[in-house]
């Protein structure tokens, strides 16, 4: 067996990593905002907002992809506006794949961050206030460092989810080699073509390897973060 990656494999792998990294990191600020709203505020429609955020978890991915296709295409409401104002198009490009992955992964990231926000002792934030810290300083010096474990978990979960995204991606941006053909899509193509089993096996192994590496990285990160913020040094 040849261990060197073929150009097609390399292409699919790097595209997958690019899409997943963009999907998870670019949506992080939004996820922190959404988590903060869910954990710290109460307003009319709070429940609805919560449900809407969780929709991608329960709706068939194809539906999400379809909604994205309709709204982000050059004739869709959001797509037309984005194209007119910024000249960006998401349809049938890797950026679209990243959007699809981000939407699918968003609930997982929000959930992880929200859970850790809820464990932050608000008494510490009050104490910071009495020490002269403004709301912004409190958030950046107290809240944010304390929810770092949740942010790391959220990022890893979102990254893993984005890496495996299939349904929404293929519906929204199709299966274009070199542009939108991520690992799962390439695997799907190989399985569909006669005689592609051997190559499919290699890709499947590659996918498992990437996932495993991500999980291990997350373990290491989580331990580092926990040591940094104290509490329990060697859990």
């Amino acid at each position: 067996m040849n261990f060197a990656l073929s150009p097609m494999e390399l292409e699919a792998l790097s595209l997958s990593l690019k899409v997943a990294l963009w999907a998870s990191f670019a949506s992080l600020p939004l996820a922190i905002g959404a988590a903060w709203i869910l954990a710290r505020t109460r307003f009319w429609g709070h429940g609805l907002f919560n449900a809407a955020l969780h929709l991608p978890l329960v709706v068939p991915p194809v539906v999400v992809g379809y909604v994205l296709l309709v709204s982000f295409s050059k004739h869709g409401i959001i797509g037309a506006w984005l194209f007119d104002v910024f000249g960006i198009s998401f349809a049938f490009s890797w950026r679209g794949a990243a959007v699809a992955a981000a939407v699918m992964a968003f609930p997982l990231m929000v959930r992880a961050i929200r859970l850790s926000l809820e464990t932050v002792d608000m008494g510490l934030e009050q104490a910071a206030g009495t020490l002269g810290a403004s709301k912004i300083k409190i958030f950046s010096t107290i809240t944010l460092p304390l929810i770092l474990p949740g942010i790391v978990t959220g990022l890893i979960l979102a990254f893993a989810r984005a890496l495996g995204e299939f349904g929404a991606t293929i519906t929204f941006v199709s299966n274009i080699p070199g542009e939108t053909q991520t690992l799962p899509l390439a695997l799907y193509t190989l399985i569909q073509s006669p005689g592609g089993e051997a190559q499919a096996e290699r890709l499947a192994l590659l996918a498992v390897g990437v996932a495993l590496a991500a999980l291990m990285a997350s373990e290491v990160m989580a331990r580092l973060v926990r040591r940094k913020i104290g509490g329990t040094p060697d859990e």
Partner: protein
């Protein structure tokens, strides 16, 4: 040996707020030194200082610190917490777990503070004994250490006023006695006014100059420590079992005889277990009402060491078999000329004894206390006299 602080009000608070079933409605003025808000748990003490700090908003009223209005419902003023410059030491310390002790201490220090200001970082670390802790993190500090760091952190934010919410309540006896001296020195050394919230008579007697008695959201009495603590009509609020008088005394001899020390109260000598203060040091003592027995003539052949002549000033009969008497201690002849206000002692006896002895207001009698009945933990110094 009273403090020579100016009479200027540091804190003026006149607020109303409905919190669940509790209607907080207080009007308190605090001067320099330590002012205690004393009362049972749930009386609304913490709610009051939370409003001062801006952590909660009153329904109506106004709050002024050093003449500056922090809150006024009439003028529509509500300065946010971080601009109030009110230090707050919480019962649970609330140290930031992701920072070292040093970072915690520096957190609230304004950027533009000159290092030669009257109390700088190293002074405070020295006073609170924090120098060995600076590199450590909160999770491996003891409860007492945490509380000391919390006090230092609040002081280093250079507040106009320091609020302390039961800072010793979660500590064991040994830790308490470890921290009390630090708190005693705060207002002297840094000239900062302290509002001290507590439900512990011992702490309040030892630490405070003035006191506001809080019950059910209201300040039912305020004034100097002995004025409030020696009012027998308030003993249901100060805790009947713990009721007792606060007396001013000076040390006569530290090592008198038989492991005892002697104190002078209105010229009379009291024997107490040995204390480590120097001669002539002023101190406050508390004598619990239930530890005082009364006799109409001076008893002879008794094991009781301490006996003070007194007259009955007030009699308060509560429900139940007991009643409380406020007694004025008769000063010795040379002392009578110099003391303006007589020292008060409170005695708790049965109503049956009251009737049998036919005690009336003005009756002259003798109050007897065992030497050991003087609560050693409440031997609070005024904090200004010489210390060993």
């Amino acid at each position: 040996m009273n403090k020579t602080f100016s009479d200027e009000a540091v804190l003026e608070i006149d607020v109303q707020k409905q919190i669940g079933g509790l209607n907080v409605d207080v009007n308190i003025t605090a001067k320099r030194g330590v002012t205690s808000l004393f009362g049972r748990s749930g009386a609304g003490k913490s709610s009051i200082i939370n409003m001062v700090a801006g952590l909660s908003t009153p329904d109506a009223g106004q709050i002024k610190v050093l003449g500056e209005t922090l809150f006024s419902s009439k003028l529509n003023i509500n300065i946010p917490t971080h601009k109030r410059r009110i230090g707050y030491v919480f019962q649970d310390a609330r140290l930031f777990p992701h920072m070292t002790v040093r970072k915690n201490l520096e957190y609230g220090t304004p950027r533009n503070v000159e290092t030669n200001s009257d109390h700088n970082f190293s002074d405070i670390c020295e006073l609170l004994g924090l120098n060995d802790l600076l590199a450590r993190r909160p999770y491996n500090l003891s409860g007492g250490e945490r509380q000391r760091v919390a006090i230092g952190r609040a002081l280093l934010s250079y507040p106009k006023l320091l609020l302390m919410d039961e800072p010793l309540a979660s500590l064991d006896l040994q830790r308490k006695s470890e921290i009390m001296p630090f708190i005693e020195r705060l207002s002297d050394q840094f000239g900062i006014a302290v509002i001290y919230v507590s439900h512990s008579v011992e702490e309040v007697v030892r630490l405070s100059d003035t006191i506001a008695l809080i019950s059910d959201g209201k300040a039912i009495a305020q004034g100097s420590l002995s004025d409030v603590m020696n009012r027998i009509d308030l003993s249901p609020y100060t805790g009947r079992h713990e009721a007792g008088a606060v007396l001013n005394a000076t040390v006569l001899e530290t090592n008198a005889a038989n492991g005892l020390s002697t104190l002078s109260v209105s010229g009379h000598t009291l024997w107490v277990p040995q204390i480590d203060l120097q001669a002539n040091a002023p101190l406050r003592i508390r004598i619990r009402a239930r530890d005082v027995a009364l006799a109409l003539s001076a008893p002879i052949d008794t094991s009781i060491l301490n006996m003070l002549p007194a007259t009955v000033r007030e009699i308060a009969a509560h429900d139940g078999p007991h009643c409380e008497l406020a007694l004025e201690i008769t000063p010795t002849a040379p002392h009578a000329l110099t003391t303006e206000t007589p020292e008060i002692l409170i005695a708790r006896i049965t109503r049956r004894s009251l009737e049998q002895m036919n005690l009336k207001v003005g009756t002259a009698l003798y109050a007897m206390m065992k030497a050991v009945a003087i609560d050693r933990r409440s031997l609070g110094g005024l904090g200004h006299g010489p210390r060993s």
